[in-house]
Symmetry: C2
Subunit: 338 residues, 2 copies
DNA sequence: AGATTTTGAGAAAGCGTTTTCTCAATCCCA
DNA sequence: TGGGATTGAGAAAACGCTTTCTCAAAATCT
C-alpha cells in the first residue's frame, strides 16, 4: 500500500526550509518581536503566505504558556442578563485579540466550581457570574481562579476586581418611583433566596423603609424566572399592595401575564415594576417600568478589568459599580383612589 | 536574592516522582487506556489527589492533537436565534465533555471567514452560522473548516452535514394561515437581501402564490432587526395588504410597535405574523402569531452531527431539517370586511 | 588596523503531555 | 523446565511552537 502522504498541515519548519532560514527566524518574523534583516523577513513572509502557513495555536499555547482565551462562566445561557454579559465580554475581548470559552453551568451550581476551575486551566483567566454561589464557596474558589474578575459579586477574601450593578440603589429608586406616584402599600416579589443580588435588593429596601416609615412593605417569596412571576400572582393580590416590585423583568412579565388572565388591570389596579430592562421589557403590555441595567457595558468592563489583570496594569483592587436608572413606562401609575 | 520558588504548578513529573513511577505510568493511569498494575495505579492516584494534580490542557492538546473544544461562529450574539443555537450546542457539547469557543462576527461578514478559520485552528471543529455569507465564499471556506457543520445553510460543494429549518415551508404555512382567515392581499416584509433564509422564504412564497393564484402578494424590502420592522410600517400600510408576513419575530415586533403608534389596530385592521417564536413573542401586544422554530434543538442536533463527525461515526452526508409549526396567537384574525 | 561593541541568525532547550519503542519479568503450555 | 507469549513499566521520541544561549559577522571606536 502506498505510504499515505501525511495530511500535510504545513508547519513552521516547512516555511523555514522554503525560505532557507532556521525555525527560530521564522518564529521571529511571525511574532515581530526581534530585529531581523528586512530582506530575510520579506523572504520568510513570502514563503509563509505562499504556503498559507498558519501557526498551530496548540504549539504556541504550550510554548508561551497562554492561550489568548478567557473563560466566562454563567449559570444560565438562556437568561438575558448573562447573555448580555457574555456578549459584552466577547466583543470587547475580541477587540483585543482574545477569544471566549463558554462555561454554562445550566443552573446546577454544584458543578460551578469544577466548571470554573476547568475553564481556568484552559484559559488565561475567568470571568465569573455566579450569583447563587455561597460566599464561603466563592472565597475558597477564587484564589485558584486568578486572574479572575467577578460580575455582580464581591469578596473581600480575595483581591479580584469586580464589576457590579448597584441593585440596592436601583430597587430604592424603583420604590421611590412607586412612592412618588402615591403608593404606600408596596410588595417585593423577591428572587431566589441564595441570590446575591436579591440580598442586595432586600438590603436596599430595608434602607428605603427606614427612611420612609409610612411605606408598608410586604416581602413575598418567588424566584427569578417568568414562571416564578406567573405563579406569584396569587400572593401578590393577597398582599393588598398596590405597587409591586418584581425581582426582575422576567418575573415581572410573568406576573403581568398572570394578572392579565385574572382580569386585574395594570397600572389601574396594580402597578408593577421589573428590573434589568431586558430588550423586550418595552414591548410588554403595558410596557414595563423597570430599572435599566447597562448589561453589555458590564461585560465590556469585566473584560477591561481582565485585560488589566493580564497585562499587569491593574490598578489596585477595584470594584466598578454601575448605577441602574429607572425607566418609567406604562406598567406603573397612581394607585386606585378607592 | 533568594531564588524565587517557581510558581509551582505541579505537573505530571511531580506526581511521578511522588509515586515512585515514571511519567508514562502516570499518564497511563490518568487516561486509563492501558493496563497497569492495580497497586501501582492506586499509588499514582493517591499521589495525584494528594498533590491535587490537574493535567495541563495545553500539553495535552499538543500531544493529542485535539482540544476537546469546538467553535461556534455566529453573526450576532444579540440575536435570539443565534443565542438559542449557541445554548443548544453548548449544553449538548458539555454533556459530551466538550467546550465551546465563541466567535461573534458582530455582523461584519467580511471577517467571518477569517474568524471561522481561526476558530477552526483553535478547536476540533466548527459549527457555522453564516446566513449572509455568499455561496461562493462558503464553498471556498468550507473545506478548510472540516469537521464542519452548517446551521441553516447547505452547500453541495462540500459534504459537511447541515441542520436546517424549513423556512420555505414555514412561511407557506403562515401564508396559508392568513389565507385561511380570509386574507387575499398579503405582503411579505422581506429580510436582508443576502440572507439565505430570506431566499428560502421567498421561494416558499413563490410556490404558495403559484398554488394559490387568487392571492395578491406584495414583496416589501426591509431587514432583520426590530428597527427594520419599525421603519417598514409606512410601506406596509401603503401596500394595501391586510395580512403581513414579517421576516421574523423581531421585525414583526418592530412593525407592531410602529402600527400601534400609528393607531392601526392589530388584528382588526391588519394581521401580522412573525417567524421563530422567540421567547418573548407570546408577550407582545397582541401576542404574536408566528412559526415556531425549535432553535435550541437545532443547536443540539448541530452538536450531535459534530460529535459523529469527530468520532468518525458520521452517517453519509446528512442534512437534518426541522419543520416550524405555526402558533396562532392574537396578532392575526379575519380581515376587516370593508 | 586592532580591540570592542552590536547585530542577527542558527542550535538547542524547553513547554507538559501522550505514545511509541524497548526490554525485563512473569506466565503458559508442552 | 525451558522457550515462546504476555504483561507492565521505563526511556525516549514526538507534538509545534517560543526563547534562551551561542557565536560569527558586521559595525564602531581608539
Amino acid at each position: 500500500m502506498a505510504k499515505r502522504v501525511r495530511p500535510a498541515r504545513i508547519g513552521i519548519s516547512d516555511v523555514a526550509s522554503k525560505a532557507g532560514v532556521s525555525l527560530a527566524t521564522v518564529s521571529r518574523v511571525m511574532n515581530g518581536n526581534f530585529r531581523v534583516d528586512p530582506e530575510i523577513a520579506a523572504r520568510v513572509r513570502e514563503a509563509a503566505t505562499e504556503l498559507k502557513y498558519q501557526p498551530n495555536p496548540m504549539g504556541r499555547n504550550l510554548a508561551r504558556g497562554k492561550t489568548d482565551t478567557i473563560g466566562v462562566v454563567v449559570p444560565d445561557l438562556g437568561n438575558p442578563t448573562f447573555q448580555g454579559v457574555l456578549r459584552g465580554v466577547s466583543r470587547a475581548a475580541a477587540h483585543d485579540g482574545y477569544r471566549v470559552l463558554i462555561a454554562d453551568s445550566s443552573e446546577v451550581s454544584s458543578e460551578e466550581s469544577i466548571l470554573a476551575g476547568e475553564a481556568r486551566r484552559r484559559c488565561d483567566g475567568v470571568v465569573l457570574c455566579a450569583p447563587r454561589m455561597s460566599s464561603s464557596e466563592l472565597e475558597e474558589l477564587a484564589p485558584s481562579l486568578h486572574p479572575l474578575v467577578l460580575v455582580n459579586r464581591t469578596t473581600d477574601a480575595d483581591d479580584s476586581p469586580s464589576v457590579i450593578v448597584d441593585y440596592g440603589q436601583g430597587i430604592q429608586d424603583l420604590a421611590a418611583h412607586l412612592s412618588g406616584l402615591g403608593h404606600t402599600r408596596i410588595a417585593y416579589v423577591s428572587g431566589p433566596e441564595s441570590s446575591a443580588s436579591n440580598a442586595l435588593r432586600l438590603a436596599g429596601l430595608e434602607k428605603f423603609t427606614r427612611t420612609n416609615p409610612h411605606i408598608e412593605l410586604t416581602i413575598l417569596h418567588s424566584g427569578s424566572t417568568f414562571e416564578d412571576g406567573y405563579e406569584s400572582a396569587g400572593d401578590v393580590v393577597e398582599s393588598g399592595a398596590t405597587g409591586i416590585l418584581a425581582f426582575n423583568d422576567l418575573t415581572a412579565m410573568g406576573l403581568l401575564s398572570s394578572l392579565n388572565e385574572l382580569g386585574i388591570k395594570v397600572p389601574e389596579d396594580l402597578s408593577v415594576t421589573g428590573f434589568d430592562d431586558i430588550p423586550f421589557a418595552r414591548y410588554t403590555t403595558p410596557p414595563l417600568t423597570t430599572a435599566a441595567v447597562p448589561i453589555t457595558a458590564v461585560g465590556e468592563h469585566a473584560w477591561a478589568q481582565m485585560r488589566d489583570l493580564l497585562n499587569g496594569t491593574s490598578t489596585t483592587e477595584s470594584v466598578e459599580v454601575f448605577q441602574p436608572h429607572v425607566v418609567s413606562r406604562g406598567s406603573t401609575g397612581a394607585p386606585a383612589s378607592d
